[in-house]
Assembly symmetry: C2
Homo-oligomer: 424 residues x 2
């Protein structure tokens, strides 16, 4: 029986020799160091050493991704993609070990003018070792009661500064507008002016009261993140004990440790905000692709994953968002390990047709609008209606301007927010 392996793909850029650097990565990240050491025997290397499987040449570039410390060398900068296999024996299934050995270490290697990790294929042992999403797509639909359309969500704005009773007033309006999902802005956790406990106390009765009257429970994701996992867990319990069913978690700010601790005890849908991710991916020659990064967080158990959207207010090009969406749609090991993709950032409904077209005409997503709902000229309730109308039009294949002729709220949105500008 062949041994299980972890296969990584690195896009290497250098003024030197790409294949030599691939070999160096395999050595440095397993058994080697800057000089040969007596114990690095052929037996040991065969057992735990990483191995370059293939190097594919790519076009060179004239400018280095990391500016050269020695510019006299100059370009061109050769590029290639190297597949490197790590024996599972050397790494194990712990995600901190995987991150340390196969990813983090490579960014320190001398002689690279750029390196980006573009793929990772994990063996099935990882499926058994990790919980994956507790709710995911099916759970998010069951809890919101939304069946054959996207779940429509909004974000309380302004992001910071509202006191709990002010947030509650806005939530009352939004719930009355029949929105499916509401969340705290990722920047709102538990500041003194709006402690999580006070916010939960102000908001949950409104949602529970409405549920009693209408049978529909709005999913509210409270910002529970905290650097201390036990404080975060207490925050989680405050929400769950008050009848809440979701939480916003700033995954990069709490790290694997914080998320892992929370997931084991979680009764809530965990809505991941990847704030900070951009520094790991924005430069195309450096960092890592979302298809690599998302695997860690899915294994750890993210239920809903924010990934920007078409024409986002942020830097991210539309095609990058679309690739991220498809990465989330593909099972890692089984369909149940798929979190619900969350399309947000500068969304107001205008992006619905393009989003629908580009994501394989799926309605399995949470479509999230902050300012696009809250700043609607007719108020948040009209904002929610406009977004629903935009999605109805998109799914029916009717251009928004046509559909807007007898859908007033959508017409108002179009007038206010204008044409969608694509992010190239």
């Amino acid at each position: 029986m062949s041994q299980s392996v972890i296969r990584m793909t690195y896009r290497i850029e250098t003024s030197g020799d790409v294949a030599a650097l691939a070999t160096k990565i395999a050595s440095d990240q397993s058994t080697g160091t800057f000089v040969p050491t007596p114990g690095e025997t052929p037996e040991l290397k065969a057992r735990v050493g990483a191995r370059v499987v293939e190097v594919r040449k790519l076009e060179s570039v004239p400018t280095p991704s990391f500016p050269e410390t020695n510019p006299s060398r100059g370009g061109p900068y050769w590029r290639g993609e190297a597949d490197i296999e790590f024996p599972l024996e050397a790494v194990g299934t712990d995600l901190a070990a995987l991150m340390t050995i196969a990813i983090s270490g490579v960014f320190s290697i001398k002689g690279l003018s750029g390196i980006r990790i573009v793929d990772m294929k994990l063996p099935p042992e990882y499926a058994q070792a990790h919980p994956g999403p507790q709710f995911g797509i099916a759970g998010s639909r069951a809890l919101t009661g939304v069946k054959e359309r996207p779940i429509i969500g909004t974000i309380v704005k302004p992001s910071l500064g509202l006191r709990p009773h002010e947030t509650a007033e806005m939530v009352r309006d939004l719930a009355a507008a029949d929105v499916d999902f509401i969340k705290d802005d990722e920047k709102l956790m538990s500041p003194a002016y709006s402690s999580l406990a006070d916010r939960v106390k102000a908001i949950m009765p409104i949602l529970l009261d409405r549920e009693q009257k209408t049978g529909k429970k709005v999913m509210y994701a409270f910002g529970i993140s905290h650097a201390d996992p036990e404080v975060m867990q207490r925050n989680h319990d405050i929400v769950a004990d008050a009848g809440g069913n979701a939480a916003v978690v700033n995954i990069n700010s709490i790290g694997f440790g914080g998320f892992s601790f929370l997931r084991k005890r979680s009764r809530l849908v965990l809505h991941a905000h990847r704030n900070g991710w951009d520094i790991l991916t924005r430069h195309p020659g450096l960092g890592l692709d979302f298809r690599v990064y998302q695997q860690f967080w899915r294994l750890l158990g993210v239920d809903q994953f924010q990934i920007n959207g078409i024409g986002a207010k942020y830097w991210e090009p539309d095609d990058s968002f679309v690739r991220s969406f498809h990465a989330l749609q593909a099972p890692l090991f089984s369909p149940s390990d798929r979190p619900l993709p969350v399309s947000g950032s500068g969304q107001w409904g205008g992006q619905a047709p393009e989003t629908y077209a580009q994501t394989g005409r799926t309605q399995d997503l949470l479509y999230l609008c902050g300012g696009g709902v809250v700043s609607h000229p007719g108020g948040p309730a009209s904002g929610v209606r406009a977004v629903r109308q935009a999605w109805e039009a998109a799914v029916a294949g009717i251009p928004l301007e046509i559909y807007a002729r007898d859908h007033h709220e959508l017409a108002q949105s179009i007038a206010k927010f204008g044409k969608v500008k694509k992010n190239a």
Copy 2:
């Protein structure tokens, strides 16, 4: 009384207007979004809004740090440093909130061709809210018994692949050589062929036995990292219960949550390996400076902090290492919040004179040599002696080649490892 503030300094790069982007950062990272929202009142902004205090112009650059998505715009790329103040009221003292609001979010902002966070000044409320180092410099000295010289350490090599009894054999040699500190390579945690429990069982009796005979206890830092804080805590307990006194923690792979959980219960000196840090700092126009990053981990309680060294095997320029060293030497709020700086990576003693000269002639450091000790022609024991000799020479102001005339092991090291090449 004036309100407490957090002051951040951002180095902004853009083909647009630096001051306008500073204003956008202050808005986006506090109360604003892509459109004005009804609740963003002057009262609310005064209370929790971030504020641009000063923008200082810097020289422009011809090449964008983030390659332009729209290259037709072209350069030059204007640069400036913006000081922005966040009211403590808006953020609080939680480090996940601080990271989310003041740091992570800015990397997503459109219109920037580069952004690097170069300084952070926290108000004294942070000192009270966080534990800081439990052992730090004084504790590391007390536990190793090393007084008026650098603590000399080594790393078991090869990094991966040795079975516990093989590691133990090497540790026996190193301890006999009177080394002060030994550590697992950061890539070694608890793989099947060398589980932490088995490694501790094989190594600790050797160190305890030697302590009984000589009175000197070698500090051994075991790799205890794990994505699950409770597994990591069990690893910690295995080490502590067996009489160990230190652990290697891969801080970026476990995150704030993992470290925070561990620190509360720790009985061990926590030796931080910042594997992965390079992707956050290697591009000089992007990411963050170590002086910002290290503040988080010092507040969380790192006792010993690895920061490369002069002529490191990695990419880092010497002056960057020196700045990092000085950052660790400066108290945040009190002298006891200073961890022990750890100089490592490609070290073998040859770098001692330059290290001593550049770090303010301090001997408060752990000087760490892996291959530089293990691959010494006379074996590890000779390697340790060579490193000690190099430091004696450095402190006495005697050139190494002169000192090597009657210090055989140092002469062997010089012959094997050659001249130190500075990293420019």
